[in-house]
Symmetry: C2
């Protein structure tokens, strides 16, 4: 790998300022369609000095079959190949977000991982380079209902050339990625019924909370000062609303989708 000497954070390569950043934040707050959001990302991508972008979000509606949403500014051929080969399973950039990292990832810093995995990862990245995605940087976002997303910017330039842009754009794109995610949430929520989120009552959430703390129905009944039957009743209703088949799944969904969060008492 060529190691550039472009160590200074000279932002002459990029055309992003606090002013443009704020304009983009406002634009993201206004965006009402996928097309608008696509245009916004493309604009950001261009200003940051990159050629391609991809925004992808994953919703944990189910742990084994999560829902995904994509706004792609990648070359079509690469994106098709990506889906065809199910590269979602080995993409190290996506893993960075899956692992709930909170800092950006310079693709040059990707750790291919151990033994058998590493070869596939290396091959994946070299194939990406063949399609024009040589260098890049990815920004993870973690959403309020347990979803996680990633905004990637890529260029055909090698890392030595791109490094300055990567570093200089980081603060702005990191901040913007949160707003873009908020916009995407808003937009997809309108269009997709699978995002309809049932509302749970206070009691239902309380019962789920104590169930998640390992309490039996009998325990919870005594904690809340109600009968065991009533606890069962609330948990049954919650399970029905959440469309799950038992207590463990109800608790898993309540935790992963943010129905119950760490409390202070």
């Amino acid at each position: 790998m060529s190691k550039g000497q472009c160590l200074t954070g000279h932002d002459s390569d990029i055309d992003l300022s606090i002013g443009t950043c704020n304009e983009l934040i406002e634009a993201a707050k206004q965006a009402g369609s996928v097309e608008e959001l696509h245009a916004l990302c493309a604009f950001l991508c261009d200003r940051a000095g990159f050629d391609y972008f991809l925004y992808g979000a994953v919703l944990p509606v189910s742990l084994v079959r999560p829902q995904t949403f994509i706004i792609s500014g990648y070359p079509n051929e690469w994106w098709e190949r990506y889906q065809e080969c199910n590269y979602i399973r080995i993409d190290p950039v996506l893993r960075h977000s899956t692992e709930r990292q909170s800092v950006p990832l310079d693709w040059n810093d990707v750790d291919p991982g151990a033994h058998s995995e590493s070869n596939r990862v290396r091959q994946f990245m070299s194939e990406a380079a063949d399609f024009g995605l040589t260098s890049g940087v990815s920004f993870p976002v973690h959403g309020r209902e347990g979803e996680y997303a990633i905004l990637s910017l890529a260029t055909g330039d090698d890392h030595g050339q791109a490094r300055g842009r990567i570093i200089a754009s980081m603060p702005f794109v990191q901040l913007l990625s949160g707003y873009i995610h908020e916009a995407a949430r808003r937009i997809f929520e309108h269009g997709d019924v699978t995002l309809a989120r049932p509302s749970l009552t206070e009691r239902e959430k309380e019962c789920l909370l104590w169930a998640a703390e390992g309490k039996t129905s009998w325990d919870t009944a005594h904690i809340l000062g109600i009968s065991e039957r009533t606890v069962l009743f609330h948990l049954h209703n919650a399970s029905h609303k959440l469309d799950v088949s038992n207590r463990a799944q109800a608790v898993a969904r309540a935790v992963s989708q943010g129905y119950i969060t760490p409390q202070f008492r």
Copy 2:
């Protein structure tokens, strides 16, 4: 509330550039003690044009009694009052992070919420102002093991005066908050035994994953091609390692602490 006209993102108030930002990122990566991290935050706070800072992290070791870690650059009197009055329960800024928001919160944009709550929130914020925390901005961080943190910067200036600084510092502080969090994780991990994280085997995680998906032991046994007894065995071992008392709690902990995450198959 005084509404300032300082709508332009003039960054003359702040002394933060991409260069300083990168230096601070490197410093955060190097930081090895709470004192170093405190100094780093104080430096950042000063450069961003604010008077006080607070970094707080919450670890969901338990949902009802989470572990907290604080690096306080708030006035002592206020911080003592905050803890004494258990303001952690009504602090709307903390709630912003608890709700897993991913964008910064300008304290001026705080929504006091509905009816009875709103008065307490308003009173809380006016009391904060009495102690010199008139305006501020908070940056939520979501960590890889389910923890969430918040970095707040505050000043005695009113919002009209502070607005420019808040806006101008956002990109830099948002980015840095992630690195500061990583550093805090690293530092606290060394000093605190309660952060020791048991490691689960692949099979244990698989069994937990399917349990979280609502599968019974019998179902999981057939999915994995092993006997029901073995599934019970793995779940028993996992529960022991995680120090939980039943399946629901095991699943809750596995999900909230990131042992199991949405999969792609």
